[in-house]
Amino acid sequence: MAEPEKDSIRLVNEPLDAGAAVAAVSCAEAGGIDLFVGTTRAESDPQDGGRGALLRLDYEAYPEMALAQMEKLVQRARERWPIARAVVWHRTGAVAVGEASVVIAVSCPHRAEAFESCRFLIDELKKAIPIWKKEVYEGEARWQGESAGG
């Protein structure tokens, strides 16, 4: 099994490059690579109360803990699947609608392992990594979970 230092776990303040993530996990032991890209949809909220269109997201992280927890998450995934290399990249700061906020890539000997471990990583990342998003509309900005107008 590959050493963990073959992983790339980062908080990034500029656009994420999915092709670079695939390149980073490519290696001779890999038969399958799965990559997930999370983006912000340009959705018009049905409960729009005059706040206008969604302009961007602002992501804030607790960086030291987020990185440490992302490392642990990859370790937990390695206990279940034979991951050769993993990439976990999350944006911080302003992310325009349509841009990627998160990129996860894993390489494994077989494809089922790649799909399952990649899915695990994004599901768990969304549950437990200390990162928060603020939705910035034309008319207002608010943190996810904050009640409207609060």
């Binding site: 999370g38 999350h90 998160v102 969304k126 437990a128 928060w132 996810q144 979970g145 904050e146």
Partner: protein, 81 residues
């Protein structure tokens, strides 16, 4: 003893700061941090599902005693991804 408190997202917005140092009595737990924060920042909302971390590890219980120099983070529900 002094502990270093970190606040994020909506809670940092409410408090007007992301960092507060608190002087607590020896052996105080995170419950004391909450009381002290709410006293200092009356506008601080406490979202349902808010968790704690001590030295960058999620804390199991509000009763867990803190030590001098601990970093205590208040983690409102996360929304990364």
């Amino acid at each position: 003893m002094r502990v270093h408190v970190r606040l994020f997202a909506v809670m940092a917005q409410d408090a007007g700061t992301g960092r507060v140092d608190l002087d607590l009595s020896r052996g105080a737990g995170v419950a004391s941090v909450r009381e002290e924060l709410q006293r200092r920042f009356p506008k601080l909302r406490w979202p349902r599902g808010t968790m704690w971390a001590v030295n960058q590890e999620y804390a199991a219980s509000e009763q867990e005693p803190l030590k001098e120099g601990d970093e205590v983070a208040i983690i409102p529900p996360v929304s990364g991804g």
